[in-house]
Symmetry: C2
Subunit: 462 residues, 2 copies
């Protein structure tokens, strides 16, 4: 057996475990830096995000968004009186996810000289990864980027009812007649709105007082209102106490004694890092909870081990996983300054509903809780000249959270139709620590909605 | 007469000459600072921009933009198969310009305690403005914000042919059957595309090799291509040598011996500061060319006189006029640091065609000409995950111009469908002088088109 094992062993500089966006970016940067890299993937190269999350959910939301915007513009509206074509929208979604075929992603690995090893990988002691019978030896490092799974809470009957997770909810071939959504975070609100726009009846159950509980209250209220206006039955402040499926229907018993009955049940109650079954025990690490890392994405007890993306629990966002992938790669390559500067719960983030919610840094409440001396200023995104042309009638608001001692931004939120690309300006202002008195001289263009910056800085007294 | 004059004289802290955006913003900020302000306007409160420029031109462009975007999204496309409704588009344009009635703007002045004096104002010596028979005395300052007119070059027959300027071209009640546009700057390309989308045949004549000569060549080429694809007859590298109107047709003789014949001729060959007839001679200043100002918008020879907006020739952009208005007001109010930091030809600017062209700072050519040691990096805006959902099929490119010595951005250009709001991030990075190595940690959200920043910084080697 020992002889066989040695025959099967292949050596690389770095072995990356998991080919989602974080793993791919890390592997690509390592290969670009001249290292020999293997990447191990059990399912689809491209990962959850490309096939079962961000990409298909945006594909499902976009048709209604584009159509509604055209219908808000006199001249275009009269040309856009038809009905949203659900099969065409779903066919485009299938195109975006390449019909769950990852062969389009593979040439990129080849071109970068990265060896793809298909199969379930697990750590097998120091610098070693086992994939089935094959052993991959890492000369320098192993990077774990196995991602996360939808959290399955211990609600009686839930597991047996075979609920949808993001996976089934993003790739479903037809809209369910009635979809019950458990959880009003980003995944829950996006998919509730998407399927509603494609014709499903939707009930959304959120245990907190409002959906999007980590965002500014005004953002949460706007999204909740939009869901309600679209006909989603939004039920907040109650939780599921039991689930049962029979005769093709799923019945959710709620804490207020009522029931929600649908054809499908979507579980959107958070994510659990995929640490189970990846051999963490073989290097003396526990599998409960995320893998702890330092600012180099390094697992401190093991100088050869890194963990990036959802599995480290820092920020469950694709772009943050990719950022961590770049930093881990740079650290392995021995580059200076390869350290996280800005991320975690402060990471920039966009909820792609209509209105969109784009935010970065602290909300007012989070800043106060963190003990920062802040002032918040608000302005109406639609109360700009640009608001005459874009997103008319969709609520839109902006808030800046200012650190009064340092006189820099520490948080920003924008809501409104397609405001996502307004966010990066705030991210740069925050990460760049641009003083407010300097920011005042960065003049947004007339007539764009970016002029909301003028109103915000004026509201601050500048 | 002397007695009469005195009886008619009213005194204010500041008299603002011209109620366009620059004048209005300046007056508002002065009033907010506790000063007694009069604003003099001969025509419409709100100025060229609100009634005859940015606002109506965007209103004319927006219907086609929104409709085309819907038509690029499967699912929405099938619902948007009708024809653009020209009367509805024009009615919305009329709504945007309030049917050329400025009464909606007036309450804002009243609310801010600003006295509106209607009539043609002219300087009449130091700290004095005459409006017809009325004399306005200024205790502290006079601010000239009279704007600009379309430039009328000395082409034989041009003036007699009664060409349209931006005024007629933005408020026309019906699309001309055939519009000939002289000049391929922002005004020319926007209005050529707008009227083409509303059904006019359009010929565009530009004397330089390409339209939008001050922007990056790739941006100019993309817009030129888009105009051509839409059926605009774009004729570059030739100039008008004579113009004649007869039988309702206007004939433009061109330098290559050909002719362009249309129903209307739009003059879009630049702007001339409105310095004529505003009494500059009464304070010893000449009226040829823009009013020269220092960085406080101050006319140096006359410590009480300021000039803001188009009339000083610094940057013929509404948002820059407003910025100057804020600075002049702060300087009059004696506030510290009331000085221009970033503007002039480097000002951020958006051309609202499809593709849009959004740029700030130097182009590569302009930076090299200025003797700055720069490197430019390019990336494709559509080659982002966000590009799967927005502006599909519309060309889109981005360029950063990096100062190699200071390692900061000094220029940025974005093209593509509705990329305007991507610009402010670059403006903040440039004005905030955020080091590139810091900018690398400002992570744009997946899947937004702002991720083009990743590609740009990667192309730079970060």
């Amino acid at each position: 057996m020992l002889v066989d094992d040695q025959r099967m062993a292949r050596a690389f500089d770095v072995v990356v475990l998991g080919a989602g966006p974080a793993g791919e970016v890390c592997a690509g940067r390592l290969a670009d830096g001249g290292l020999e890299v293997a990447i191990v993937e059990e399912h689809l190269v491209g990962g959850e995000c490309s096939f079962y999350a961000c990409m298909p959910s945006k594909a499902l939301l976009r048709p209604a968004e584009a159509l509604e915007e055209a219908r808000r513009i006199p001249g275009a509206a009269e040309a856009a009186t038809g009905t949203l074509d659900v099969p065409a929208a779903l066919a485009r979604r299938d195109e975006v996810i390449h019909d769950l075929d990852d062969s389009a992603q593979v040439p990129w690995l080849d071109d970068n000289g990265i060896t793809l090893v298909r199969g379930r990988g697990r750590l097998d002691g120091k610098l070693t990864v086992r994939v089935g019978d094959e052993v991959l030896e890492a000369r320098r490092a192993v990077v774990v980027s196995t991602g996360s799974d939808a959290t399955m809470p211990p609600i009686p009957g839930l597991a047996e009812a075979e609920p949808w997770t993001n996976r089934e909810a993003t790739v479903a071939k037809t809209p369910p007649e009635h979809l019950v959504v458990l959880g009003g975070g980003p995944v829950g609100v996006e998919l509730a709105q998407a399927w509603r726009s494609l014709g499903s009846a939707v009930t959304l159950v959120e245990s907190h007082e409002h959906v999007l509980g980590r965002e500014e209250p005004f953002a949460a209220e706007e999204v909740e209102q939009a869901l309600g206006d679209a006909g989603v039955d939004v039920r907040t402040g109650i939780r599921a106490t039991a689930v049962a499926r029979s005769d093709g229907k799923v019945t959710v018993t709620l804490s207020d004694g009522t029931e929600a009955i649908g054809d499908e049940l979507l579980l959107a109650l958070g994510r659990t890092p995929r640490t189970d079954g990846i051999g963490l025990d073989s290097v003396g690490l526990g599998a409960d909870g995320p893998i702890e890392t330092d600012n180099h994405l390094h697992v401190q007890a093991e100088p050869w081990l890194y963990a990036i993306g959802d599995v480290n629990g820092r920020a469950l966002l694709t772009h943050q996983g990719k950022y961590q992938g770049r930093i881990a790669a740079d650290h392995i390559l021995g580059r200076a300054h390869a350290s996280l500067v800005y991320g975690g719960p402060l990471s920039p983030r966009i909820v792609f509903t209509e209105p969109q919610v784009a935010s970065v840094g602290y909300t007012l409440a989070a800043a106060l809780e963190a003990g920062i001396d802040v002032e918040a200023v608000d302005a109406d995104v639609n109360d700009t000249a640009g608001g005459s042309f874009y997103g008319r009638g969709v609520p839109g608001r902006a808030r800046l959270v200012v650190d009064e001692n340092r006189r820099v931004l520490v948080g920003a939120t924008f809501t409104g139709a397609e405001v996502g690309d307004l966010l990066h300006a705030a991210t740069i202002a925050i990460v760049g620590e641009v003083p407010l008195d300097r920011l005042w001289h960065a003049v947004p263009c007339f007539p764009s909605r970016s002029e909301v910056w003028l109103k915000l800085l004026e509201a601050y007294g500048l």
